[in-house]
């Protein structure tokens, strides 16, 4: 499903360059639950951004569902992010002026789905994360756990086969963190591929495979 071959990412600022990823090769199969771990600056987030088609590698080949990502245009990458990949961020990244309902509706709008389909899907997702009663509340009116559940519902809006979670419990108390992890586990059991970046060994232990990075390379 996901195949990375010799992925390198170099950031250049003026005359200086920083090699964030050094020839990473990795295969992630369908319905895997994988954690990516490593110290700060090891390249976890960079790798996550490349897998999530938010960034492109400097060298190497990324094949997603038999498609070479390097050949895709900006809008084609956007379509991949919209339909194939759901994002859950540490700081939720919800639109502050939009309600829970509107935040979840956004990927459906970008996919061009009609009003009725959108209403049905948003209702279904809000019920699934237990926030239907909170649908008209803005992020600032929700707790951290609730906000992350809204973010999870948004990530699932177009029913993507891959879910990328960058420190999904990083800003949550342990109870809310456990709730999010329960949902992620449930989603994995439904057949989705879950790729999670975390510092936390306890959280990582919920996944079925751990990839450790150090200094831009896979060490185990």
């Amino acid at each position: 499903m996901i195949e990375l071959q010799g992925i390198t990412k170099v950031y250049r600022t003026g005359s200086q360059s920083l090699e964030a990823l050094r020839g990473i090769s990795l295969k992630i199969g369908k319905a895997e639950f994988i954690s990516i771990m490593g110290p700060s600056g090891s390249g976890k987030s960079t790798l996550m951004n490349i897998i999530g088609c938010l960034d492109t590698p400097t060298a190497g080949e990324y094949v997603l569902d038999s498609d070479k990502v390097a050949g895709l245009t900006f809008d084609e990458l956007a379509a991949v992010r919209n339909r194939k990949i759901g994002f859950v961020f540490q700081n939720f990244n919800l639109l502050p002026y939009a309600t829970a309902w509107e935040n979840i509706e956004l990927p459906l709008l970008f996919d061009g789905k009609g009003g009725r389909k959108r209403r049905e899907r948003v209702t279904e997702l809000l019920n699934a994360v237990g926030l239907y009663e909170w649908r008209d509340h803005r992020p600032s009116e929700l707790s951290g756990g609730q906000q992350q559940r809204v973010a999870l519902a948004r990530a699932l809006a177009n029913d993507p086969p891959i879910l990328l979670a960058d420190e999904p419990t990083g800003n949550l108390d342990s109870k809310s963190g456990d709730e999010i992890m329960d949902i992620l586990t449930e989603l994995w059991k439904e057949g989705r591929t879950i790729i999670m970046v975390t510092h936390n060994d306890h959280i990582a232990s919920r996944s079925k495979r751990i990839v450790r990075l150090f200094d831009g390379q896979v060490v185990s």
């Binding site: 951004n49 999530g52 938010l54 960034d55 900006f74 809008d75 956007a78 379509a79 992010r81 919209n82 339909r83 994002f87 961020f89 990244n93 919800l94 639109l95 002026y97 939009a98 509107e102 509706e105 956004l106 990927p107 709008l109 970008f110 996919d111 948004r154 990530a155 177009n158």
Partner: protein
């Protein structure tokens, strides 16, 4: 609810209320001034057309003259007169002529009911009415072919003549004495604006049937000939043919510019209209520049919005927004700012134009106010304004929108 519409714009817009209010005012003022300047420009153009048509519709006037070239052994300096026979002579030989009428005039004493005035009295035929926009007031008429054929003693008079002789009493049916001969008034000229004339405005003139005029006037020649072509594009051709035919008949060189002269109102009108069109465009540009100041403000506002919403753009890009979605959103927001600013400018301009148009025009002293008091809010003005506005909306919105749509999703997501 469609979130690609300017849904969150209000919150951002409210944050910049003070700046936004100034921009809204600039757009309001720009719209008001653009529309008013264009409406007044168009009104002046139309009024000039109306005033010009007060003299006549698509008219060529022919006058006699004096030769300036020797021709077939004849010396230069010969007087060339026009005669009533020339009317049929020209009409028969120039098929491009739709209407033709003779005109002779003399300055005579005219009296009625104990009042005496001195006015120019004209002799002409029925066709003159249409060519020279001699529209009678209700209950009256202009000279008809029977009046002319039978040499009836009837007169069509200007409204000022009617006022001077009869005051507020109806003039039709009353008798006036022209050069000691009684004539019955059959019609009074309707009020009109007229900025081009000879022998003064038509309001001060008296018209008699051509035959009747000749009976009290002892001149053999006529003063001028009025010609109306079938096609306005043929006016220069008609001029050339008249020169050629009269030259053949009266033996002068057709290239002699002084043997006959022309007042070609069709050509004059073209020049006049071009000048007024130029004024209209100039006024539109002045107004458009005012609007441009507001548009620059909108561009700045949209750049600020784009910058402050970097994170929001990053989130949208991360969850699958295509570039056109971002562009569309910024464009719609730009349109919203413009709509808010221009709406009241549009409404107020419309009402000012409407109110000004209600002001009466004084036909007795036709002056500059006749041009200024009839601004026009025409389809042409509206279309021109919309074209200017469309361009400004496009250029105000496109650059901030493109910049926003080209954001890097990761950098945008990191923006705080």
């Amino acid at each position: 609810m469609n979130l690609t519409l300017p849904h969150f714009f209000w919150s951002e817009y409210r944050k910049r209320r003070k700046k936004a209010s100034l921009i809204t005012f600039a757009l309001f003022w720009g719209t008001l001034s653009t529309l008013l300047l264009m409406a007044f420009g168009q009104g002046m153009s139309t009024q000039s057309q109306v005033a010009f048509s007060g003299l006549g519709e698509t008219l060529i006037m022919v006058y006699g003259g004096q030769t300036s070239l020797e021709f077939e052994g004849l010396p230069k300096g010969r007087r060339i007169w026009l005669y009533s026979e020339d009317i049929d002579y020209l009409k028969e030989r120039i098929p491009e002529i739709m209407r033709i009428a003779p005109e002779s005039y003399n300055f005579w004493q005219v009296s009625a009911e104990g009042k005496e005035i001195n006015r120019t009295v004209h002799g002409t035929t029925a066709e003159f009415a249409v060519m020279r926009t001699q529209i009678p007031q209700l209950g009256g008429r202009f000279i008809n072919p029977d009046d002319d054929r039978e040499g009836r003693k009837v007169a069509f008079i200007g409204w000022k003549v009617a006022q001077d002789l009869f005051g507020t009493k109806g003039a039709v049916g009353r008798t006036i004495i022209v050069n000691r001969v009684p004539f019955t008034v059959i019609g009074v000229l309707q009020k009109k604006i007229q900025d081009s004339m000879y022998n003064g405005p038509d309001a001060d003139q008296i018209y008699l049937p051509f035959r009747s005029f000749r009976q009290i006037d002892n001149q053999r020649y006529i003063d001028q000939i009025h010609i109306q072509p079938w096609n306005v594009g043929q006016s220069k051709l008609i001029e050339a043919r008249v020169r050629m035919l009269l030259g053949r008949k009266d033996r002068f060189d057709p290239n002699d510019r002084y043997a006959t002269s022309f007042w070609n109102t069709i050509e004059n009108n073209k020049e006049g209209q071009a000048i007024f069109k130029g004024i209209e465009i100039f006024l539109g540009i002045i107004g458009g520049l005012t609007l441009l100041i507001g548009a620059v403000g909108v561009t700045n506002l949209m750049y600020a919005v784009a910058k402050e919403r970097t994170k929001e753009i990053g989130i949208k890009l991360a969850i699958g927004a295509r570039r056109r979605v971002i562009v569309q959103q910024f464009f719609l927001e730009t349109m919203f700012v413009f709509a808010k600013g221009t709406f009241w400018g549009f409404i107020i301009a419309f009402n000012i134009v409407h109110l000004v148009r209600l002001a009466p025009i004084n036909y007795d002293s036709f002056g500059i106010e006749a041009y200024l008091l009839r601004p026009e809010f025409s389809l042409q003005v509206f279309a021109a304004y919309m074209a200017i506005l469309g361009l400004l909306v496009f250029f105000s919105g496109i650059f901030p929108a493109l910049r926003a749509s080209r954001s890097n999703p990761i950098e945008s997501l990191r923006y705080e």
